[in-house]
Every structure is written in structure tokens, then in C-alpha cells.
């Protein structure tokens, strides 16, 4: 434990030095990433488990010209650098985030438009990247959340955990990261939420997607599935969801791209990924609540309740259809 605490200031100092300073403002500090700001730049220490080769490709995608105005490009345009004994880090321009105290003011149309442009852009030329495009990591992260729930101190929230397990078991194997997805020819963000949007230049510039750590080839439905989950669970008003989805569909159609997500009913494609992300949120909520010795908060309860309904729908489907004589 003391080693982990000691790593904090050392890592923050190392990140600040990448930007020519001795210290900076900590914007995020989690086990899977630390972000420090100095003036108009930020430096990020990536997940210690991040594979350097795949990370270099992901940074190459963020710097690729076909994603200009969609993905924030790193500074300088190049691969990750090592800090603090092997931790990979990268430097980016500072962008201003969505106000966390007013998610209602979130740029839903811009978000739908950005994801559509990401999905519809031509793939980067292989020779221009330092390696092959890795798979999008969304399903692996969902599986990791369920593992974290299983390994969290037990004894509490037993019924909630059992409900989440039932919803998880009813998912297709690809959504649990056990098989490749049926479609994996599209560059996907892999971890879209409101914390992944910034304006650049800060305050006045256009919205961009940040955090390419989970980016890769996958099913683009995954990128729409988290807002879909928020909407289906009642966390998000229908108006916000329709603005987001409407903008996505308009941009995909304007780009002349074919996508089942731009059809009249996108839910056949959204259903399984949206269930997986609901399970992920519920599992993380249970893991965090168990570790902190607290009860679930309202949003976490909402996700567990949705898992119960998923399990009930799956159980209905299991009953063999009665047949006539």
C-alpha cells in the first residue's frame, strides 16, 4: 500500500516534466490512468496493463488525418513515452470538458455526430501505423468489471450480485469478450461516456473525442450502447437519447455509409451491447459498494433492476414454445 501511495507524487512529477514543468494540476487519478495539466497541455499515464505496441497504434489513429476534428490528436504526433519505470505516457492539448454538474447541457448532437464520423471514416492505411489495428476493448472491460465484482469482499449485496450474474450469463459470448464480435471492421472508441468529450481549443473550439485507450476494430453498436443503456434504464430522458441517435443517423446517412444502426429500428443491433454495458455498470457499482462497505446508490440500483428484467426476459425465452397437436 505504501508503495502505491508513494507512486502518486512521483508519477505526477514525471508527467509534469514531460511538459517542461516540475508540477501540475491533477485532473484525474485512478488505478487505470493519471492525467496532469500544465497550461494548455495535459500528460496522461496510461493503464499499467496497457500493451505498449497496441497503445502506439491507438495514438497513431488519434493522430491520423482522417480523424482530424473527431479524435483529439496527441502532441507531439508520435508513440507513447515511458515514465516512472515502464509506465506509458502521452501528451495532449488541453480541452475543456462537459460540465459534470450539468450533464443536461451535454452536447448530445455533437456526440452522435462525432461517433458517426469516427465509424464512417476510411480506415487508416496500415503502413502509416506502427502495427495492426487492435480489437476494441469494450467487451473485455465488461468482463473485467464482472471479475472485479466476483473478487470484491463478499457477504453483502448477494442477491444483487446473483441478478447481475444471471444477466451476464444471458449475453452472447462476444459481448462477454469470449469470442470475436460478428462485425469487427469499424474503428470504434470503445469507452464512450460524457467524460470523453472536450472542446479544443478550450472553451470555444469544436467538440472532440478523447481517451483512445480502448479504441480498436469492433462493432460500432458498442459506442452507442452506453447512451442506449442510460436511456433504457431511465437515467436519460428520451429527448437527449433521440438527439444523440438522430445526429448519429443523419451523419452516417450523409456520409453514404451503410449501417444497421441507421435503420428505422436500431435496437436489434443495440440490445446485446446495451445489456452488456448495463451489467458492467451494475457489477462495478456492486464491487465499489462492497469495497467501501456501503449500499448501492440510486443509479447503481437502477442498473441492477434492469439486470433483473434482462434475466426475466431471458428466462421467458428459455421455455420451449408450446406446439400444437
Amino acid at each position: 500500500m505504501s508503495d502505491q501511495r508513494a507512486a502518486g507524487p512521483a508519477l505526477r512529477g514525471a508527467l509534469a516534466r514531460l511538459m517542461g514543468a516540475t508540477d501540475g494540476e491533477v485532473l484525474a487519478e485512478r488505478s487505470d490512468g493519471t492525467v496532469v495539466r500544465v497550461g494548455d497541455r495535459v500528460a496522461k499515464a496510461h493503464d499499467p496493463d496497457a500493451e505498449a505496441g497496441a497503445l502506439a497504434v491507438r495514438l497513431g489513429v488519434a493522430a491520423a488525418e482522417q480523424y482530424a476534428g473527431v479524435l483529439l490528436a496527441p502532441l507531439p504526433r508520435g508513440g507513447p513515452v515511458e515514465v516512472c519505470g515502464g509506465r506509458n505516457a502521452s501528451v495532449w492539448p488541453y480541452g475543456s470538458p462537459v460540465d459534470p454538474d450539468d450533464p443536461g447541457a451535454a452536447p448530445w448532437e455533437a456526440a452522435g455526430d462525432l461517433l458517426a464520423r469516427l465509424h464512417a471514416a476510411p480506415l487508416p492505411v496500415p503502413g502509416r501505423l506502427p502495427g495492426p489495428l487492435p480489437p476494441m476493448r469494450g467487451p473485455v472491460k465488461a468482463a473485467r468489471a464482472v471479475t472485479r465484482m466476483r473478487s470484491a469482499p463478499g457477504g453483502t449485496l448477494v442477491a444483487a450480485a446473483r441478478t447481475v450474474e444471471r444477466a451476464w450469463a444471458a449475453l452472447p459470448a462476444w459481448c462477454r469478450g469470449e469470442e470475436p464480435p460478428p462485425r469487427a471492421t469499424t474503428v470504434c472508441h470503445g469507452d464512450f461516456h460524457l467524460g470523453q468529450l472536450v472542446r479544443h481549443p478550450a472553451g470555444t473550439g469544436g467538440w472532440h473525442l478523447i481517451d483512445v485507450d480502448d479504441l480498436g476494430l469492433g462493432d460500432p453498436a458498442w459506442d452507442l450502447a452506453r447512451p442506449a443503456c442510460w436511456y433504457a434504464t431511465g437515467l436519460l430522458v428520451p429527448d437527449a437519447w433521440e438527439r444523440f441517435l438522430g445526429a448519429y443517423v443523419r451523419t452516417v446517412r450523409a456520409a453514404g455509409a451503410r449501417s444497421g444502426l441507421a435503420e428505422e429500428d436500431p435496437w436489434p443491433r443495440l440490445d446485446a451491447p446495451a445489456r452488456a454495458l448495463t451489467v458492467q455498470s451494475a457489477a462495478l457499482g456492486i464491487a465499489k459498494a462492497r469495497a467501501a462497505g456501503r449500499v448501492l446508490d440510486e443509479a447503481e440500483e437502477t442498473c441492477v433492476a434492469a439486470c433483473a428484467r434482462m434475466a426475466a426476459v431471458a428466462a421467458q425465452a428459455e421455455l420451449p414454445a408450446p406446439q400444437g397437436p
Binding site: 450539468d102 443536461g104 437515467l235 428505422e264 443509479a299 421455455l319
Partner: protein
């Protein structure tokens, strides 16, 4: 038990507390006393909590999946301008993985 119609063995399924026997051969279904009423009751509850029917042609987007929150079409916690604060973890969830 054996099927009263064709004599083949019947298999028992338990779904949400209702026991249903189905014949392995003719697929006929046998209900015990009170089970038809239990099914009728569950059907009424299901109809109440099920999402609204698919929209008529012309409406842009259907409302959502079968496991969606009951009546989620009528409210939501976030999305309106001016809805400030991070009550009950809702806001926080929109900003995290």
C-alpha cells in the same frame, strides 16, 4: 406424470412460480388447480409493465428494449437543460466507464 391424451411422459417447467407440465410427445400442456389464474395474473402484470408497442410507421425511433425501465418514456433523470447536481449517482454514472 403421463399425458392424459397420448400417454407419453410429461416434463415439468417452473417459471416464476407457475408449474407447467408439457408432454414430450404431443406438446400438450397440463395446468394444476389455480395455475391458469396465476398465468392470467402474470399476463396482466406483464402488460402493465411492458414497454409501449412499436410506434406507427413514420416515427423516427422505437422506444427501446423489452428490459427497459417501466414507463421510461415518460421521465428520465438527466438530459434536460438546467437539471443541476449529481443526485444519487446519476450524473456520476454518465461520466464514467
Amino acid at each position: 406424470m403421463m399425458c392424459p391424451k397420448c400417454g407419453a411422459p410429461m416434463h415439468t417447467y417452473n417459471r416464476s412460480g407457475v408449474q407447467i407440465e408439457q408432454c414430450a410427445n404431443c406438446r400438450g400442456i397440463f395446468l394444476d388447480y389455480g395455475e391458469l389464474e396465476a398465468i392470467t395474473r402474470m399476463e396482466a402484470q406483464w402488460t402493465q409493465s411492458a414497454p409501449p408497442p412499436p410506434p406507427p410507421a413514420g416515427q423516427a425511433y422505437p422506444s427501446g428494449p423489452a428490459w427497459g425501465a417501466p414507463h421510461h418514456g415518460s421521465h428520465g433523470h438527466y438530459g434536460h437543460h438546467g437539471h443541476h447536481g449529481r443526485h444519487g449517482g446519476f450524473g456520476r454514472m454518465l461520466f464514467s466507464s
